[in-house]
């Protein structure tokens, strides 16, 4: 069950040579398990497409190793890799019908006509496009083209499916329903998906595990919960979800906790490994907006006093931007149903309570 589908080790890729060379990947190593929904997440230009194209066989790499089910596949051209791709702009064959598009891979594999027909029908059913089988791609909407691209890539039953930002060209509603559909289809077919996106929300919703990338380097690999709750560095904390990244100083250290001074407060925070930190070290704290509670000022409290600067209504949540005494700013978010907060307005004095157990301490 936990077989490794793809192992990437020390992958480095330069575009071009000499002084103009662009480093698109830098020493990237990770493993993708069989039957996993694995997401490559990172801002535009961080090398996601490059990595996907290397796995698909469309791009050579400068250094490193690429293994598919424990076999090195460096020398296999794309048409001999048991891997199929859903291209970012679909790349449907405009001169072929939808049916011929979907059956293309099977035809190339030399399957008999009857099997091509059966499998094509099955795939068209799967993506609910059976009535459109005889149309041309130009006669379909964006969402339908997207589903044809998916059916076409799935039809030859690849061991691994690569998807390069497949939803980015769709509008929000369609994107949300396609997320759901993709996830269902993967569970139904039980094959490995490698999904590329720059949308952290999409990554969190869909993935079994996520690899966060930045500037060609791997930042962290983990489940959505690990990535969200235990980011390993500032980039991950900032890029995945929203957070307040603030500076503090370590005043005291013991084996599993640190006393950190932030905004005239001494916060006692849990830490994993004291060796990563030293006393009097400048550190960053990642505090998620939902882990800061806000309530109207009451005189006897000893919590963080603050002033509301901005209030933003987000539907189920309300977001407040608060200014602390020292000038620091914190964003906090509470559910709209929390009654005593809905009436707060900019300019009101409030007090904040930070759930210290949820603060993540980050070095530099």
């Amino acid at each position: 069950m936990n077989q490794i589908a793809i192992r990437i080790s020390g992958m480095t890729k330069y575009y071009g040579t000499g002084p103009d060379a662009v480093r698109a990947l830098h020493d990237v190593s990770f493993e993708i398990r069989n039957n996993e929904f694995f997401t490559l997440l990172g801002p535009s230009g961080c090398g996601k497409t490059t990595l996907l194209r290397i796995i698909g066989g469309f791009e050579e790499y400068s250094e490193g190793k690429l293994e598919l089910f424990d076999e090195e596949i460096q020398d296999l051209p794309p048409n001999r890799r048991p891997v199929n791709t859903v291209f970012q702009h679909y790349a449907l064959f405009p001169h072929l019908s939808i049916r011929d598009n979907v059956g293309f891979g099977l035809k190339m594999l030399g399957k008999p006509d009857s099997e091509i027909h059966r499998q094509t029908n099955k795939m068209l059913d799967l993506v609910r496009l059976s009535e459109y089988a005889d149309r041309r791609p130009s006669q379909l909407s964006g969402g339908q083209k997207q589903r044809v691209a998916l059916a076409r890539a799935l039809a030859p039953e690849p061991k691994v499916l690569l998807l390069d930002e497949p939803l980015s060209a769709l509008d929000l509603k369609l994107r949300q329903s396609m997320r759901h559909e993709l996830k269902q289809i993967r569970e139904q077919l039980g094959i490995t998906f490698i999904f590329v996106t720059h949308d952290q929300e999409e990554a969190l919703i869909m993935s079994d595990r996520i690899a966060v990338m930045s500037h060609g380097s791997l930042q962290q690999v983990g489940t959505p919960e690990e990535i969200y709750n235990h980011p390993e560095n500032r980039f991950v904390a900032d890029f995945v979800g929203e957070t307040n990244l603030v500076q503090g100083v370590i005043r005291e250290l013991c084996s599993d906790a640190a006393c950190v001074e932030y905004a005239d407060q001494e916060l006692s925070l849990a830490i994993q490994n004291e060796n990563l930190f030293a006393t009097e070290q400048q550190v960053h704290l990642s505090i998620r907006p939902e882990h800061i509670n806000i309530k109207p000022m009451s005189s006897e409290s000893s919590n963080l006093p603050a002033l509301i600067k901005e209030k933003t209504f987000l539907g189920t949540d309300i977001q407040f931007l608060c200014r602390l005494k020292g000038g620091n700013e914190l964003t906090t978010r509470v559910q709209t149903t929390t009654t005593d907060c809905a009436t707060l307005l900019p300019g009101d004095s409030v007090e904040l309570t930070i759930d210290t157990k949820k603060i993540v301490l980050l070095g530099d």
Partner: protein
């Protein structure tokens, strides 16, 4: 048909279109009409025409009545044969241009965007020189004691010069060299517009390279291929410089035949005009066939 834009009155619109109508009228319609009229006039010896209506020119082209015009009419094969020879010479030249032009255009279109224009420029440079001079140069290159033969003799690949002048091959070379850019440029434009992620998708779906070329790339650049073929075939069909200078009397083409009718005093204007009209009709038929095919294609693709 599009609706007139709001705020522009119909009369003004017609006035604005006047330059186009004048261009089309003077430069395209009237020359053809003049030729059409002349092809039905009587020839004047020493060139020129007599304004008397006759079918004589067409009669001369298609029907053989013997040397003195008193034998029972038979089909005249001389000109039909010239016509036929011209057609296959032009067709062959078109194929030659396609076979050389396609890889050339493909190569240029797949270079980095920054260097493509340089390649296109290089392709067009020789064509700044007059066609006559280029054709004569070709003659110098391939003649028995020209540089190509000299080089082949020197390397010992051949022991006697290859005689190309006055052969159909020489005509082919001439036509090929004359019209190659008309093939390369539309092909280049089509291949440059081709979305190469389609060929990646084909490779991803286990297609072999040749399959991808034939079944993915070529169908999607078909318009460029056809445009290139038409642009080479039509001028080749009416060419006279290459057949005159490189082919000699035996490789006479329809263009040379027409040219002779209007040159000097030996000519026959109505006959030249009739031959032109026949050529024009043949070309128009080819174009109409192409237009019909395109319409059928478009209907298939639902555009």
């Amino acid at each position: 048909m599009s609706n007139p834009p709001h705020g522009v009155f119909a009369p003004i619109r017609h006035w604005l279109l006047l330059p186009s109508w004048l261009t089309i009228g003077f430069l395209m319609v009237s020359p053809v009409l003049i030729m059409l009229v002349y092809s039905f006039l009587t020839k004047e010896f020493r060139g020129g025409v007599i304004w008397e209506f006759t079918f004589a020119a067409y009669d001369q082209f298609f029907i053989d009545r013997g040397l003195f015009g008193d034998e029972p009419p038979q089909i005249e094969w001389t000109y039909i044969n010239i016509f036929w020879r011209s057609t296959w010479q032009a067709g062959l030249a078109t194929l030659l241009c396609l076979f050389i032009g396609f890889p050339t255009a493909y190569y240029i279109a797949t270079r980095p965007a920054s260097t493509r224009n340089i390649w296109v420029f290089l392709i067009t440079i020789p064509y700044w020189v007059n066609l006559l001079i280029r054709t004569v140069s070709m003659k110098f290159l391939i003649r028995d004691n020209g540089p190509i033969n000299a080089w082949l003799l020197q390397t010992g690949l051949i022991t006697e010069p290859i005689s190309l002048i006055n052969t159909p091959i020489a005509v082919q070379l001439g036509l090929f060299y004359s019209y190659l850019p008309f093939m390369v440029l539309p092909l280049y434009a089509a291949i440059e517009r081709f979305d190469f992620s389609l060929s990646e998708a084909a490779a991803d779906l286990y297609a072999h390279r040749w399959y991808t070329l034939w079944h993915i790339i070529i169908p999607n650049i078909k318009a460029g291929i056809i445009a290139g073929c038409i642009l080479v075939f039509i001028p080749s069909l009416g060419a006279f410089l290459a057949p005159d200078l490189l082919g000699g009397a035996k490789n006479f083409m329809i263009g040379s035949l027409i040219e002779e009718q209007f040159k000097g005093t030996a000519g026959n204007w109505p006959f030249g005009a009739a031959a032109s009209m026949i050529l024009l009709t043949a070309v128009l038929l080819v174009m109409m066939l192409h237009a019909r095919n395109q319409k059928i294609d478009a209907a298939h693709q639902g555009h």
